[in-house]
């Protein structure tokens, strides 16, 4: 009989939910079963050992060839030291311990350290710095929320266990799960579809072209664990919700401000805002005022559509205004499992959450000037270190051109489009699987990440790689100050 070990609880290192109740069954240093995880988390644990680069690579004569760790670290240190304005980017899928090392390194080489907030919830952070934020830990929602709004985000796809762990489909001290209500509605809808299909076949009339949005669904009378989705398209989450408002793309700002007006008992002079009839908005405003505790979760639907941080300003201000009437909260749906950690560590060590420039010898923060995409687009940096992210896949083309046109060091467990374009590639371990560490959930709760597997031979943790580079940089400095 083979030797099986069960390990639990394990914290999942994938998304901002940071579910910490996973159980793994491990055989011979391989995960063979994952309990409690969503499909995404399960896939990470089951597939983590496939396609793992095991040796550092250095680009020589245009080709990436295998090299020793010493040579690769040496080359990395030289690249960073000889650059005038190096950029150290990524950080969101590694441990806080690695981020601390990264900040130390960035400070040592007088570079810029930026994390993926810069292309995701950076606008949310800018907004918080302008107007503040009324928020909480996720347990508050589980225990107390009777109104949950998902605005410009799709947890069903991107944070699969969010609803069942933290919001509508879970029991809290003061609330009951609304899972049964959803299940009934789901089966009723399935039944209706079946009936319609049958009637379409048996009756010889042309099926109606009337879409369901032509006659307004009435606002639900139920007020407990009411789940509302606001989005530009009907997502899976919208299907699971009690109510869905389809907002016209790039017009969330007007919609939020209209709701603010309604909350303040002002009259709207128009019939519709952002494609939504005012009657529906009035009902939503009523539900918001009448709830005992409401929350808006929001995603890049707000941060990366027209208005960006102004959308978030409006959302946070709406929530703040609602606190005159009732208890209302708002929370950004952070994507990567430790982007919050990258912000948190950066803030306590430098005073600033991302886009920190050390070139003057002290931390400077000015998103737009010191943020990665902007620096790269203007061609200002002359070397980069990319870790725990894949900017070649995600950044604008102009920025990518400058990223790969200059010396590029990549630290990653896997081969990515970015590592394929690099000049030095350093293979590292998966944090939360092969290396322990600390990560922060989307609501700022810190959790421990475990080591459950031995890493592939020769592969080293992010923290170790950074430590070695830093040592070398310091050593080189001493020799030639």
């Amino acid at each position: 009989m083979k030797h099986l070990t069960t390990i639990g609880p394990v914290t999942c290192p994938v998304c901002g939910c940071l579910c910490d109740d996973l159980e793994l069954i491990i055989e011979d240093n391989t995960v063979i079963q994952v309990k409690n995880a969503c499909a995404v988390g399960e896939a990470k644990f089951l597939d983590c050992q496939q396609n793992r680069p095991r040796t550092p690579l250095i680009r020589k004569n245009g080709e990436l060839v295998e090299a020793s760790w010493d040579e690769a670290i040496q080359r990395s240190a030289e690249m960073l030291l000889s650059a005038r304005y190096p950029l150290l980017y990524g950080w969101s899928s590694t441990s806080c311990e690695a981020v601390r090392k990264g900040i130390e390194l960035a400070e040592e080489v007088g570079g810029v350290i930026d994390n993926t907030s810069t292309v995701c919830h950076g606008p949310s952070i800018l907004s918080i710095q302008d107007v503040g934020i009324s928020s909480c830990t996720l347990g508050q929602i589980r225990h107390r929320a009777d109104l949950v709004v998902y605005w410009g985000c799709d947890p069903w796809s991107a944070h699969p266990r969010h609803i069942e762990r933290y919001t509508a489909f879970t029991d809290g001290r003061y609330r009951e799960s609304s899972w049964r209500r959803y299940a009934k509605r789901y089966y009723a809808r399935q039944l209706l579809k079946r009936v319609q299909r049958v009637s379409n076949i048996t009756s010889k009339t042309v099926p109606s072209t009337e879409t369901t949005t032509d006659h307004l669904p009435s606002f639900p009378k139920v007020r407990d664990r009411l789940m509302v989705v606001v989005d530009v398209r009907r997502t899976r989450t919208a299907d699971a919700a009690d109510y869905f408002l389809q907002v016209k793309p790039n017009s969330d700002y007007e919609l939020l401000q209209a709701l603010r007006m309604l909350i303040r008992q002002e009259v709207l002079d128009v019939d519709e805002v952002s494609g939504i009839p005012v009657e529906q908005l009035e009902e939503l405003a009523d539900a918001m005022i009448e709830c005992e505790l409401g929350i808006i979760f929001f995603g890049v639907g707000l941060t990366m559509s027209s208005g960006k941080n102004r959308n978030v300003d409006a959302a946070i201000s709406l929530v703040r205004d609602l606190n005159k009437w009732t208890k209302f909260l708002i929370m950004p749906m952070r994507g990567h499992f430790n982007v919050t950690g990258a912000n948190v560590v950066s803030t306590w060590q430098t005073g600033y959450p991302f886009a920190v420039d050390f070139s003057k010898g002290y931390p400077v923060y000015n998103p737009g000037e010191t943020s990665a995409v902007d620096i790269l687009s203007r061609g200002e940096s002359d070397a980069s270190l990319v870790i725990a992210s894949d900017p070649v896949s995600n950044f604008p083309r102009e920025a990518v051109k400058n990223l790969v046109g200059n010396p590029l060091i990549v630290i990653d467990p896997l081969e990515t489009p970015t590592s394929l374009m690099a000049d030095v590639v350093l293979p590292s371990t998966f944090v939360g699987i092969e290396t322990e560490g600390t990560a922060y959930r989307m609501d700022h709760v810190p959790l421990p990440l475990k080591k459950v597997l031995e890493p592939p031979d020769g592969v080293v943790s992010d923290e170790d790689v950074l430590h070695r580079i830093l040592d070398h940089v310091r050593g080189l400095r001493k020799e030639a100050p």
């Binding site: 609880p9 914290t11 910490d20 109740d21 806080c96 601390r100 130390e104 400070e107 952070i125 918080i128 710095q129 302008d130 107007v131 503040g132 934020i133 009324s134 928020s135 909480c136 830990t137 996720l138 347990g139 508050q140 589980r142 225990h143 107390r144 762990r165 933290y166 001290r173 005992e292 505790l293 703040r320 606190n323 009732t326 208890k327 909260l329 912000n343 948190v344 560590v345 803030t347 306590w348 060590q349 430098t350 005073g351 600033y352 959450p353 050390f358 010898g361 002290y362 931390p363 923060y365 600390t438 922060y440 700022h444 709760v445 810190p446 959790l447 421990p448």
Partner: protein, 563 residues
């Protein structure tokens, strides 16, 4: 390594040394009787004052609410930067400095121990991560327990022993040092947007009152034999007329005192010492509180002194912070923590031309000057709530010099000038009093036996200041006092010179002190906890406690409980 601090004027109140010229010998990081001549490095402290390293009993320097405050205020950092040097990391100030800067700035003022007093237990890991990155000083933290569901339920059911077991578990799990209570009942009510208005309000659905919470935890404190008393931020903080709530709170635990030792500490008392019924007629209740403190032995307080500056308020008192947003219209952060507590952050500028702010300034000083026994009142600013900690030297100057106070009084709001009691107070602190208010008294309240004094066996944490009271009348030279305390001539930490002339010369890491309570009924607490964990929190039981090796330098403080 051996060190001799030679010929300084030593103020060591815990050993009753009041300005004696003597040598201090240090070996192996401790104060010793003497060291062999020639084996030691000698610091010539002639013409200088020698005190134990400074101790700050209440300063928000690390953790989730502090860090959100840092995030909130890039405009506060941009004009106050610290360059990277060969021995120090770069950073920013002003009211919520980054962690390295915090450590360096305290050390430059001769401080060697700082307590961060508001740690949400669920986020304890965060507090410790930041403390690990705060160099130069020894630290401890207080978990917020006054609204913890376990406490509320056990007290409701009269289960004092179970409550005590769980508090002991919590102190060990979060590596905390003492029981912190903030607006008892308030944060739980704030979970649904409400608050408590007096210590007699019922808190649904637990049906206990703030008074029950304070009394209950005071009893628990005694059962567990904790060295510090319960540390209390009162109900109705910041509300005109709240001095009566403070006195009610002090009264409600009086009969729990056994001997002359305190059983309660009211923190940043200035904020809880207002008379009046609204902001127009608000006044100082300092004399009433001082009278109570003077006539009783069961309480200590710290000042929470206001300095006129642009700062950042941050407390676990969610509803109060929301109220502050209402008053100022400033950006407002709120962060409720499930099952346990909350937090709120609002930037705030204290103006000397404002009647209320000027009264607040006066109240803090009145408390320190009207309370006769300097062992009962300590110097704090509830950093950064009433002012950044870098203003302590200024406050010391006010305490020591009537002239310095008068200079400020002449510039404050006219109505406040008339109503302030300060002009009628002649008292000036001497260096011995200052040593109590900024070190000895604080340490006595905390119960950290090897700190805050220079007797044989103490940790060699020493501060040397360029002041000579025999040459200069300090009360007539407040500027000299302020400058001297701003930049220590030497700061010695564990027997090593870490600061010279106000500059960090050697970066060191301090210890984190935490309470390890020995009880017999651990096991029962654990199994009940596990059962309730899944219901109460959104994290697993195993992931909650902080392992000891998480702390950079863990320092266990043991105590035996009565259960």
């Amino acid at each position: 390594m051996n060190l001799i601090v030679r010929n300084g004027l030593v103020y060591d109140p815990l050993n009753s040394i009041d300005g004696e010229r003597m040598d201090i010998a240090i070996s192996g990081g401790k104060i010793v009787e003497k060291v062999p001549e020639g084996s030691a490095e000698v610091i010539d402290a002639s013409g200088m004052v020698v005190m134990p390293g400074g101790v700050d009993i209440h300063s928000h320097i690390a953790g989730s609410e502090v860090n959100t405050g840092r995030l909130l205020r890039p405009e506060d950092h941009v004009n106050d930067v610290e360059f990277k040097t060969a021995v120090t990391r770069s950073g920013v100030g002003y009211s919520v400095p980054s962690t390295f800067t915090t450590g360096y700035r305290y050390s430059r003022m001769g401080y060697t121990t700082v307590i961060t007093p508001a740690m949400p237990p669920l986020e304890a890991r965060h507090t410790h991560e930041e403390l690990n990155d705060t160099p130069m000083i020894d630290k401890a933290c207080f978990p917020l327990l006054g609204d913890w569901w376990f406490v509320l339920e056990h007290l409701r059911d009269g289960e004092l022993k179970e409550c005590a077991s769980h508090v002991a578990w919590m102190l060990r799990a979060t590596k905390g040092y003492a029981i912190k209570i903030v607006n008892p009942g308030g944060p739980e009510m704030w979970g649904f947007g409400r608050n408590v208005k007096s210590i007699y309000d019922q808190i649904p659905p637990f049906n206990i009152t703030p008074r029950d919470i304070v009394r209950g935890l005071c009893k628990v404190n005694r059962i567990l034999n904790l060295p510090h008393t319960i540390h209390v931020h009162t109900n109705n903080l910041g509300k005109p007329g709240n001095y009566s709530t403070t006195i009610d709170t002090l009264r409600c635990v009086r009969n729990l005192a056994r001997d002359d030792r305190p059983v309660i500490h009211i923190t940043h008392c200035q904020f809880s010492a207002f008379t009046g019924s609204d902001w127009m007629n608000m006044g100082s209740g300092a004399d009433r509180i001082a009278k109570y403190i003077n006539h009783h032995t069961h309480a200590t307080i710290d000042m929470g002194q206001v300095v006129f500056a642009d700062t950042t308020t941050m407390t676990a008192d969610g509803p109060f912070q929301y109220g502050l947003y209402g008053l100022t219209g400033n950006k407002w952060v709120n962060h409720d923590v499930e099952t346990e507590t909350g937090a709120g952050i609002v930037p705030f500028r204290y103006r000397r031309t404002s009647y209320v702010h000027a009264m607040q300034w006066s109240i803090g000083l009145e408390l320190a000057l009207l309370i006769e026994d300097p062992w009962k009142v300590y110097l704090t600013t509830d950093h950064p709530n009433a002012a950044p900690f870098t203003t302590y030297p200024r406050i010391i100057a006010w305490l020591m010099s009537r002239e310095a106070r008068e200079k400020m009084i002449r510039r404050i709001n006219r109505k406040a000038r008339r109503k302030s009691l300060l002009r009628s107070i002649d008292r000036e602190y001497g260096l011995y009093d200052v040593a109590i208010a900024t070190r000895a008294g604080q340490v006595k309240a905390l119960g950290l036996k090897q700190k805050g004094h220079l007797g044989v066996g103490a940790d060699a944490d020493v501060a040397i200041y360029r002041l000579d009271p025999r040459e200069t009348d300090l009360s007539k030279n407040p500027e000299l006092v302020r400058k001297a305390f701003e930049e220590a001539a030497y700061t010695i930490k564990d027997g090593v010179v870490v600061v010279k002339d106000g500059k960090v010369v050697k970066p060191v890491s301090g210890r984190t002190y935490w309470m390890d309570v020995e009880t017999t009924s651990d096991f029962k607490a654990t199994s009940e906890l596990k059962q309730k964990f899944k219901d109460y929190w959104t994290v697993e039981y195993e992931n909650y406690p902080i392992p000891e090796d998480y702390l950079l330098r863990s320092q266990r403080v043991m105590t035996k409980a009565g259960i």
